[in-house]
Symmetry: C3
Subunit: 301 residues, 3 copies
């Protein structure tokens, strides 16, 4: 996410808007006969579906794998060679991997464009793009907003990419997490250092969600991911301390919006779903379009 | 299947006929750029393939999953949210689920059309549609026919949807099953209650297949599914009592037809495959076309 | 591979050349609305991806399965019936199977064209086609070349199909393998018997790779596949005796080429990758095009 300028993001968002206005048959001309190579070394139904659907909506087809169990990696093949194999069979690739820097490594190996579909604990740029697009679309812009980010800020890769993206705009960020799940120092440090920014992003850290809710324009909830905890007891301690229900949301500004990268477990109770502030399902729908725009820009430079 | 009127079924069959006459390139215009969301919570190669192939034949693409192992359900996501995720990435959805009513529940959640790809023990409407189409096509109509349905009538979801469909026509149904696998009362009761029918469907229950074979116009065999039996011994008892071979088929009317939803194990012996009565492979081929017609009607209302 | 004449191979190679010059949108007309049925009873990311990508590049879509775990075979369905199911949902099929003759058996059952995607220990014809194409393309022809084939020549199915293909040309083949992994007699015997050849292919067997390297125009390395060894100790003995690195390659003719069907483990060290002789990644890229040409010839006879 650090690689993208604000201007590049705005081009992406404009392209997304244009795609939304196009008819099915017009769109297919953008990717007809083109192939997206899926390399998912971690399972992810949501992100995989979104990319496959995005590619299909512009007329292209996805090939690849979404687990390593049946791949040649099992026969002892290196990641570099696996990238070359998928690259040989695609026009653009998306890679998801548990390790930091995997997408950048793949991009150095490959001669075709690589999109990161999430890697390590810090990187999920297309999620951040769709998050930013959602805010721009639903709040008519980003500058000047108060944005609360809640949940597991230590292990949630989504959060880091989002913050790196927000740092390109003039916003105030409220970070809300249990003490053991605070954001890692390198990330907040990075924000202060973003080049070309006229004004620093203001960041505060909070432990109490209720206190800040009335001030927020955007509340970004995240799941406290069980699979990130080495110890189940640690998970049980924090799980359920950071949730919202309809009563909480009623205390928000009437034009505030509630977002979530999904899947949620119970951090947003179902009684919020029908409230006007709830935008997490629409956010997810935008995902496909933002990714289709990204693919279309890559395939038609 | 109860939701469909005879007129709607006939529209579907006419559309199927039209698709069969169209050229490849004409057909792709019906679904170009459109996406079928596959949500299969039960494995089913056959039905999944048929839907994917149907969608592809009209130019569309399928995305989704066919097992829950790698989905967000494992992370604790609700069925409702999973439906919303797949819906956000598709234009029409097909859902298969082990529980009764799952497709109807999904249809209440979703704003896009949901097709049931089989749910619970009673519902497999697209199978019934292709079964009815096969009879109409191969026997030049349905009214007045004697139709034998043989095998596990208690647990076979295919059978229930078929009977609900047949109840819209004037037919005589011979149900043939071992005593422990008789059809459930609510189903036969339902048939008598179908609204708008001038004349009741006649239904008889039989334990001996040989007795009724000479009278049948259509013999619909089904598998006695091992996985439906809590006890393997119970399975062994009935397995093999209800099969047909070439000798049996020779006693049928010369223009009778033999159908089967497949997969078969040994309830139809291979020596029947080349006989003129055998239509179960053609029936399966029709499946793709009937499903393509259904998708095409949904996508081009 | 024995079924194909030299003229047929040359038609395939010419078609591949033509496809390479076509634009994306021109190519999709070759397979629009057409479906490739994938039946992979053995996992193979590489071959599956290559076929799916090939089909997509000519506008077609692939459906099917690449493991038996979730198929109806588990419910006791015969291979013949499974072939019929996939056939009912496709226009052309590709089958991969651990048993000898599986593709031929499927071709006898099916009424639609079956491509072998690898079967048993002897048959992988599309790999041989892309191998031959690579040599023709990179060496401007095949006749008169010295071709070394190195590694596990006893169990490697790729090698047999390649040799059957080479036998249609006037080449000298150097077979290099550990004593326990020599080529099976029936294969070398077959080469002498290829009908219509004016001149026998010359074949030598060698245990020392270094000795022959300076003479080779083409060095075809293969993996010594761990999964083919009943005993891990046996594998450890030979593994690593047959590898090449940059020092070895420097002793080759400057215009020699190094090929490999991939995946490789360490039989070609990474320091070879950037040398001008290394053509194994390009070979893999050709794979998709050769398969697209094959599919296009089948679908547009």
């Amino acid at each position: 996410m650090k690689d993208f300028s604000r201007a590049e993001l705005e081009l992406l968002f404009d392209t997304t808007d244009k795609l939304l206005e196009m008819k099915y048959r017009e769109k297919v001309a953008l990717g007809e006969g083109r192939i997206l190579g899926i390399m998912f070394f971690e399972p992810s139904t949501r992100t995989r579906l979104s990319f496959e659907s995005a590619m299909a909506s512009i007329g292209g087809i996805s090939v690849g794998f979404s687990e390593t169990r049946t791949t040649s990696m099992e026969k002892g093949e290196s990641l570099a060679d696996t990238v070359r194999v998928v690259e040989a069979n695609s026009d653009v690739l998306v890679l998801r991997h548990p390790m930091e820097g995997a997408a950048r490594f793949a991009a150095e190996i490959a001669t075709k464009p690589i999109i990161s579909g999430g890697a390590g604990t810090e990187e999920h740029p297309t999620q951040a793009m769709l998050d930013l697009y959602t805010i721009v679309k639903e709040k008519k812009g980003l500058d000047g907003l108060n944005i609360g980010i809640v949940g597991d800020l230590r292990f949630g890769r989504t959060v880091y990419s989002l913050i790196y993206g927000l740092a390109k705009y003039d916003v105030k960020i409220y970070l809300v997490s249990p003490p053991g799940l605070k954001i890692r120092q390198e990330a907040t440090h990075d924000i202060g250092l973003v080049p070309g920014k006229s004004k620093s992003v203001e960041v505060t850290e909070n432990e109490n969600l209720q206190d800040i809710m009335p001030e927020l324009d955007v509340l970004y909830m995240t799941r406290i991911q069980k699979e990130r905890f080495p110890d189940e007891q640690e998970y049980e301690k924090v799980h359920g301390s950071y949730f919202i229900d309809a009563e909480h949301v009623k205390k928000m500004k009437p034009d505030a919006i509630v977002m979530h990268p999904l899947p949620r477990v119970d951090e947003i109770r179902p009684d919020v779903d029908q409230m006007p502030q709830a935008r997490y399902f629409r956010q997810m729908q935008y995902g496909r379009n933002v990714r289709a725009a990204l693919l279309s820009l890559i395939l038609n430079p």
